[in-house]
């Protein structure tokens, strides 16, 4: 796969090697990328991209390219210091997680000290330049701390971004992470998010994918501690010929933890979406409480979204719910609004925006209006 790159792999990886990931670690990761199957379906009638054939051959690598800024006004938060939890999640194991580990070149390292209640969101912004960007965010939330992290990914036309968000939280903490991207229509984004919430902690991960030609996103939450409450909320909205592939996995390995997954997607034009939502409950994870709700809205005849909720439950004393819908705008809803004088276009916009609202309400409050505005612009 790498024969045609400008430099042989070892030499190329040596240029990326740093004191976070030495060349051996990168080399092993690159091998994993080459050998690991994406686990995704092959292209078909609607979905046109083979994720196992995604090539890095034509990428012009440059470790010096790309920017990261971390804005935090709380002096207790340690920014830029490598957290002791680096590499603890399984985020580097997947195909694109491995690629992100191999070339990681911009880091956002954040440690929230014990019992710190960080009021304002910590904002991490990555900006891709002309060369591919491999952002690596690692967040460690210590015991009893509380914080909100907003990660934005920006870039110009043709951007290639492949990154990791890795989160480990300790007992009794409360962390909300939101990622947002509205990249140009020819960009490609591969994002792998891994989280290990602590005992009796609250963790929420919200993702909004509104831009890019191709988005491949994988969210994995491993519940290894009792009493953890995990939430995932995702929205995506492919239009034009955008392809968005989202996979979320919540792994209940111990009992007494709860998870709530909400995905709202819409597609228009020839936009294509795929969502696979996994809930796994291990045999010893009795008294787990897992819920997965996934709704997809098709706004044009050529738009397509596949939705696959998958529950694997090995325990016998659990609460598990899943529901999925795929459909067009409801004619009765539109008629109802029109009988109140609202024109059809405006009614369609309101119903579509409303459709996303249950997921938007899971985003940090500071982001909601911005997201509503971005969605409204897509619908218009």
């Amino acid at each position: 796969m790498l024969e045609r790159t400008a430099a042989p792999p070892a030499e190329l990886l040596a240029r990326f090697a740093d004191d976070v990931f030495p060349v051996e670690v990168r080399s092993a990761a690159l091998q994993r990328f080459g050998h690991t199957h994406s686990g995704r379906e092959r292209p078909g009638r609607y979905w046109r991209i083979d994720l196992d054939a995604v090539s890095i051959d034509d990428l012009a690598f440059d470790p010096a390219c790309g920017e990261v800024t971390v804005v935090c006004d709380d002096p207790r938060v340690r920014v830029g210091e490598r957290p002791q939890t680096l590499g603890m999640t399984a985020s580097g194991a997947s195909k694109f997680g491995a690629l992100a580990s191999a070339f990681a070149n911009r880091y956002a390292f954040v440690t929230i000290p014990p019992d710190a209640d960080v009021e304002r969101p910590i904002v991490i912004t990555y900006r891709a330049g002309t060369a591919p960007l491999f952002p690596y965010t690692c967040v460690h939330v210590r015991r009893g701390a509380r914080a909100t992290i907003v990660q934005r990914i920006e870039g110009d036309g043709g951007a290639f971004v492949c990154g990791i968000v890795e989160v480990v939280t300790e007992d009794g903490s409360d962390l909300r992470v939101a990622t947002l991207q509205d990249l140009p229509q020819d960009a490609r984004l591969f994002l792998t998010i891994g989280a290990l919430p602590g005992r009796d902690s609250a963790f929420s991960c919200a993702t909004a994918d509104l831009g890019a030609a191709l988005v491949v996103e994988e969210i994995g939450v491993e519940l290894l501690a009792m009493g953890a409450q995990a939430q995932i909320a995702s929205i995506f909205f492919p239009r034009g010929s955008q392809h968005v592939d989202l996979r979320s996995t919540v792994d209940h390995r111990v009992g007494g933890a709860t998870s709530l997954t909400t995905v709202k997607s819409a597609a228009t034009d020839r936009g294509q979406g795929r969502y696979v939502g996994n809930i796994r409950i291990a045999a010893r994870a009795q008294k787990s409480d897992a819920s997965l709700r996934d709704d997809a809205l098709l706004l044009s005849p050529s738009a397509h979204i596949d939705s696959v909720p998958a529950l694997e439950i090995a325990a016998n004393d659990v609460k598990a719910y899943h529901g999925a819908t795929v459909g067009a705008l409801d004619a009765e809803m539109l008629f109802y609004m029109m009988t109140r004088g609202i024109e059809r276009d405006a009614a369609e916009r309101m119903v579509t925006l409303g459709f996303f609202e249950p997921a938007l309400e899971r985003f940090p409050e500071q982001l909601r209006d911005e997201l509503r505005g971005l969605l409204a612009a897509k619908i218009a």
Partner: protein
């Protein structure tokens, strides 16, 4: 009063998937007057209400409907609302994610663009909600989503009060209400009567009980897609005593 004033239905026939439901309806609700339309289940009352509002499921095969002289049948549902028609649904649609406050403001802006500042609009809402016995928390809820039957009907009445239409069709607004809710809603409708430019009402109902609050000027009885009898308020009492069978026997209707 000019001759063409009123919500005027002439010879209206409508069908659903080839089945004729309305078989020639004639009635005119004059400005500010109250007409009651009574009839058993399946007689076509709701079809008439939805056909007047332009529901795409119903095909008008002949006849005309005008609102103060304007041809309603040529208009889309939103334009009918702008022309001054309101329908209170028997089963209002639930629209998750659309907050009541935002929806009401959008509707008011659509029907009466820019006539109220947001602050004045809010004051109007608060006043009307108090009259309907509605808590302010209603405004932050999603439209009809998880509402009880009574809450839905209250919200329909709140919308009517906010939009102040020229004519309103109330499709079984009294059904599924407990005594208190019926009283609030009945009084709210009655209060619209006290305005200088009151809404003309077509009140569709099975039961005469709402007519204790909203005294009809005219009562129509509908059977099998036709209006078979028209009278004054006393006709409602007659139906309460003798049921629709008395009307059937009297008019020879088969439905």
């Amino acid at each position: 009063m000019r001759e063409e004033q009123g919500l005027s239905v002439v010879g209206l026939r409508a069908e659903v998937e080839g089945n004729e439901i309305l078989k020639g309806i004639d009635l005119t609700v004059e400005p500010g007057r109250v007409h009651a339309l009574m009839g058993p289940n399946g007689s076509g009352k709701t079809t008439l209400a939805l056909a007047l509002s332009g529901h795409p499921h119903y095909r008008i095969t002949s006849g005309s409907v005008t609102l103060d002289g304007e041809d309603l049948l040529a208009l889309s549902p939103d334009k009918r609302a702008k022309a001054g028609l309101f329908l209170s649904f028997q089963y209002p649609a639930a629209i998750p994610g659309v907050k009541v406050a935002n929806f009401l403001y959008a509707a008011r802006q659509a029907v009466r663009p820019g006539d109220l500042t947001p602050a004045k609009f809010r004051a109007l809402l608060m006043e009307q909600m108090e009259a309907l016995g509605m808590d302010a928390s209603f405004l932050g809820r999603y439209l009809n989503d998880g509402f009880s039957g009574g809450e839905k009907k209250r919200l329909e009445m709140l919308q009517m009060a906010v939009l102040a239409p020229r004519y309103a069709v109330l499709d079984e607004t009294d059904s599924g209400l407990d005594v208190d809710a019926l009283k609030h809603i009945g009084e709210s409708i009655a209060s619209l009567r006290g305005k200088s430019d009151p809404t003309g009402l077509l009140v569709i109902t099975h039961y005469p009980r709402i007519l204790r609050y909203v005294k009809p000027d005219v009562v129509h009885v509908m059977l099998d897609g036709r209006i078979v009898k028209t009278g004054d308020a006393e006709l409602a009492n007659y139906i309460e005593r003798g049921g629709y069978d008395a009307i059937r026997a009297e008019t020879g209707a088969v439905a």
